[in-house]
């Protein structure tokens, strides 16, 4: 298949109502064969594991590429120069290496985002007054989240929608103005942003002793969690604060689970209970696996999440994340990072070694 054929098939697939596993399998294996052919590091990775498209019988047989690979390698089927857009991770990890995803054009990414966003965040209306708590796409051209939120604004925001985060941070006065207006007019309002973007907002509201009672139909959106940020809040506390501060029931505080290494996102149906059940659309499928054997863990056991995202066709569609999870009815629960821990014995573990070696080097 050519790139254009794949894009066409994907767009059709996304637009369809649903898909049986066999249809998903067929397209997943076609895309795998395409990637195997054009993506040299992926081919090497698969051959190292004795897997070719020929011997993959379902999407579950496609080797899952560890998410770290995106930092070390260029995993692109199209030439780098031909990419319309490159999304990069935020580079907070060791060595500052940033994971890259090259997109030859954004048609599939955009279709994936808008189709599913509509289903999960806007099931009841076409447009809503929106406030965005994240820098603009122009300011962060390599941020997938910036692009995501720009799409949300463009396709689902009314004319009275704004990006409220400028170079100097959140424009509190402007934002509070919009929130008050929503209260007075009774027109629903949606506030979307990175989870950690809400922290200074909630702090400022506390400082000013300000709360809002947004009208019914209003909703909140957060994504990304608090890892590596200045403050650590539990999910439960966060949604309580959000709900209390804005008068939006926790059922309408929606969390999105996504990453630069995918072109599709997962949502929950609100956060009345934490952790909430996350699920995705019919063009992405997930497994919970034992990271050592690559096999699915028994249903209900904790393992590491692996996603097969058909929309991520130019890179690799099957990713092994670093997130622990467990399969439940209707989706999965995210349970935090599946990192290594300190050794049980007196043998040094990698994390301790790196930390100490870093100290030694800089000390």
């Amino acid at each position: 298949m050519t790139q254009d054929e794949i894009i066409r098939e994907l767009l059709d697939f996304i637009a369809a109502d649903d898909a049986a596993e066999s249809a998903f399998d067929r397209l997943a294996l076609e895309i795998f064969a395409y990637q195997f052919k054009h993506n040299e590091p992926l081919r090497k990775f698969c051959l190292q594991r004795g897997r070719t498209p020929r011997t993959a019988k379902s999407w579950r047989d496609i080797p899952a590429v560890p998410i770290n690979a995106f930092k070390e390698l260029t995993l692109s089927c199209c030439a780098r120069e031909d990419a319309e857009r490159v999304f990069m991770t935020s580079g907070t990890t060791m060595g500052g290496l940033r994971g890259k995803s090259h997109h030859p054009n954004l048609a599939v990414y955009d279709a994936s985002m808008t189709t599913h966003f509509k289903q999960r965040f806007m099931p009841d209306r076409d447009r809503i007054d929106m406030g965005i708590l994240f820098p603009d796409e122009d300011v962060m051209p390599n941020s997938s989240l910036a692009h995501y939120l720009a799409l949300a604004l463009e396709h689902f925001g009314t004319d009275d929608s704004r990006n409220e985060m400028g170079k100097s941070g959140i424009d509190f006065d402007a934002l509070f103005g919009w929130l008050e207006r929503a209260e007075t007019t009774g027109v629903p309002y949606a506030l979307l942003g990175a989870s950690y973007s809400f922290v200074p907002l909630l702090d400022e509201m506390k400082r000013r002793d300000v709360r809002f009672a947004l009208p019914a139909g209003s909703r909140m959106f957060d994504t990304g969690g608090f890892k590596g940020q200045s403050r650590d809040i539990s999910a439960d506390d966060f949604y309580t604060q959000l709900s209390d501060s804005f008068g939006v029931p926790r059922r309408w505080c929606i969390n999105m689970y996504g990453m630069t290494e995918l072109s599709t996102q997962f949502y929950d149906n609100g956060n009345e209970v934490c952790p909430s059940v996350k699920s995705g659309p019919h063009w992405i499928r997930s497994r919970v696996i034992n990271p050592l054997t690559g096999e699915d863990v028994p249903r209900g056991d904790v393992g590491v999440l692996t996603h097969c995202d058909l929309a991520h066709f130019n890179i690799v569609s099957t990713i092994l994340t670093e997130d622990a999870g467990v399969e439940v009815d209707g989706g999965f629960l995210l349970l935090g990072r599946a990192d290594g821990e300190e050794a049980k014995g007196c043998s040094m573990a990698v994390e301790e070694f790196l930390k100490a070696a870093n100290v030694a080097a800089t000390g």
């Binding site: 051959l47 897997r51 020929r54």
Partner: protein, 255 residues
């Protein structure tokens, strides 16, 4: 026995015992590389049979007595299937099993012996050597060589054929001794007369009857009878067996 996700390469698999082995592996989910020398139609038939029974297969032409062909064969199989878990050395130089008109010892030249040695042993040597890097890369693998019960009991002295197979058994055992410590097992299957195959299609009834009368299980082997023991030796069920010769002849030979 589950051979899903396993890749099997069988030499001389377009007909007879080789074809039966190929189909048996495919029925258990294996991906089978069907090597053939000339008979492309027969090979393609085997391939479709394999796919029908739930496995996967492709045909690969190669003359396994030639070193270059062997390397190309291995490379093609690796490119298609990604790995080789099991190698079955089944090919041998054509032989007419004719008790009445066989070449007796004084009729035979060394060239006759050499031809059989080239067919059975040299091809096996070349295939083993070529496949080893791939198997070493997995720290495991299984090689099964087709011998014959005539080595233990020459009911009919087919000198050249059986001598070559005797050497093949010695070759297999030495290979087993050396490769055991790196996790690669080498075993032989020794059938008696297998009927019907190209070599035995014309065997006379009284010859068959004589053998049957001395066989505890009172019949001759069919190609499918040989497949089971091959699959056994390729499976983890025989994981602690190497250097062995399994006699599959209804009990004609017990050793």
């Amino acid at each position: 026995m589950d051979f899903r996700d396993k890749v099997v390469l069988i030499t001389g698999a377009s007909r007879g015992i080789g074809a039966a082995i190929a189909k048996a592996f495919a029925a258990e989910g294996a991906s089978v590389a069907v090597n053939y020398l000339r008979n492309v139609d027969a090979a393609d038939d085997v391939v479709s049979e394999c796919r029908k029974t739930g496995g996967d297969a492709s045909a690969f032409q190669a003359d396994v007595t030639g070193a270059n062909d062997v390397d190309v064969l291995i490379d093609s199989v690796l490119e298609t299937f990604g790995k080789i878990d099991i190698l079955v050395n089944n090919a041998f130089s054509p032989y007419a099993f004719d008790p009445e008109n066989r070449k007796m010892f004084c009729d035979l030249d060394w060239a006759d012996y050499q031809s059989q040695i080239d067919g059975a042993l040299r091809s096996t040597h070349g295939m083993c050597k070529a496949v080893l890097p791939a198997m070493r890369g997995q720290a495991q693998g299984t090689i099964i060589n087709m011998a014959t019960d005539l080595v233990a009991r020459p009911s009919v002295p087919y000198h050249d054929y059986t001598t070559a197979k005797a050497a093949l058994i010695g070759f297999s055992r030495n290979l087993a001794a050396e490769l055991g410590p790196i996790g690669i097992r080498v075993n032989c299957v020794a059938p008696g007369i297998v009927y019907p195959t190209d070599g035995t299609r014309d065997t006379k009834e009284d010859v068959k009857d004589m053998i049957i009368s001395q066989t505890p299980l009172k019949r001759l082997a069919r190609p499918e009878d040989v497949a089971g023991p091959v699959l056994f030796l390729a499976s983890p069920w025989s994981g602690f067996m190497t250097g062995q010769v399994l006699y599959v002849d209804g009990g004609l030979v017990m050793t």
